[in-house]
Symmetry: C2
Subunit: 195 residues, 2 copies
Amino acid sequence: MGVYIQVLEDLQSQQQQVIPSEKLAEKCEVNSSQIRKDLAYFGEFGVRGVGYYVTDLLQAIKHFLGIDRNWNCILVGVGNLGRALLRHRQLPQKGFQIRMAFDCDPFKIGEHVAGHEVVCTRRLKEKAQLMQIDIGLITTPPERAQRAANHMMQAGIKGIINFAPTRIHVSSDVTVDYVDFSNHLISMAFRLSHP
Amino acid sequence: MGVYIQVLEDLQSQQQQVIPSEKLAEKCEVNSSQIRKDLAYFGEFGVRGVGYYVTDLLQAIKHFLGIDRNWNCILVGVGNLGRALLRHRQLPQKGFQIRMAFDCDPFKIGEHVAGHEVVCTRRLKEKAQLMQIDIGLITTPPERAQRAANHMMQAGIKGIINFAPTRIHVSSDVTVDYVDFSNHLISMAFRLSHP
């Protein structure tokens, strides 16, 4: 779905109102029967002989995915990866606003990164509860990931995305997703070994 | 598969030789029928009433995935994300060695990051051909991703992982994978909207 959104947003920014099915499939690098199957799900946005209405289709996909609204995020761990996320231009465009950045390193506390003042992680609960925070991003070293998750849970955050290469334990009402770069390398190694 | 590898490597570093099937399933956060199905693929590593032989199973998975060897990688784009990857301790442990780092910013060329001297991207072909480079990682801003891919293709690199949030065009003998952080946020938003 991410690909469809990206391609449709590109089309929208180019003021294109309609795109033929085959053309959309080509841009998304899927075949046209796959795209028809995927997009049929969102209702009748394809018009025979014409194609898809870009804005309507995009809106329907976003609504389905729950990204036709803003999501408030915080981030713990202002290292290189944390900074990359704080400076990521496309996350706010997609409705994901990183509201605050935390770190326990006294040399980082008070620093400004991409318009965010880095705050001591111990103040996470107090700070995060003032806003309605939906999603917490963990970009700490692995040995600090669990502590970051604990702070997030204490602040009532129900969705955690863990970029640190380690498993974390959360209570049953919290949803966790793991981002592990090495999986992409493993998958590439597999594809190159089995051409 | 990434989870299995991570858990099995943790067990191996703890000198654990055998693990009961249910225990392995629990650690990997899958159910035990799923794990039996997944791992049956790799041959008879489970022994009834005993469990799995950690080292043998890990070796079989790695062999299957093509990561029982070293893969030479290069990286183009020494921003925050590039630095995070260059400093990632687990990639070399998994057989992915980033051999060289390139950037076209004159202020970065000559800098040392995690033991790598940053080299001008124009010298990529010349430099990369001296080694057998398997995989190229693109961590540039989106507007420079295609140029990075072109340099990689000219150097004969057949696998490209693009972290820049844009589509790239490659020749048909090149495999591309996209890493898009916003997909993880979209997926989390979806899961939180559909509890």
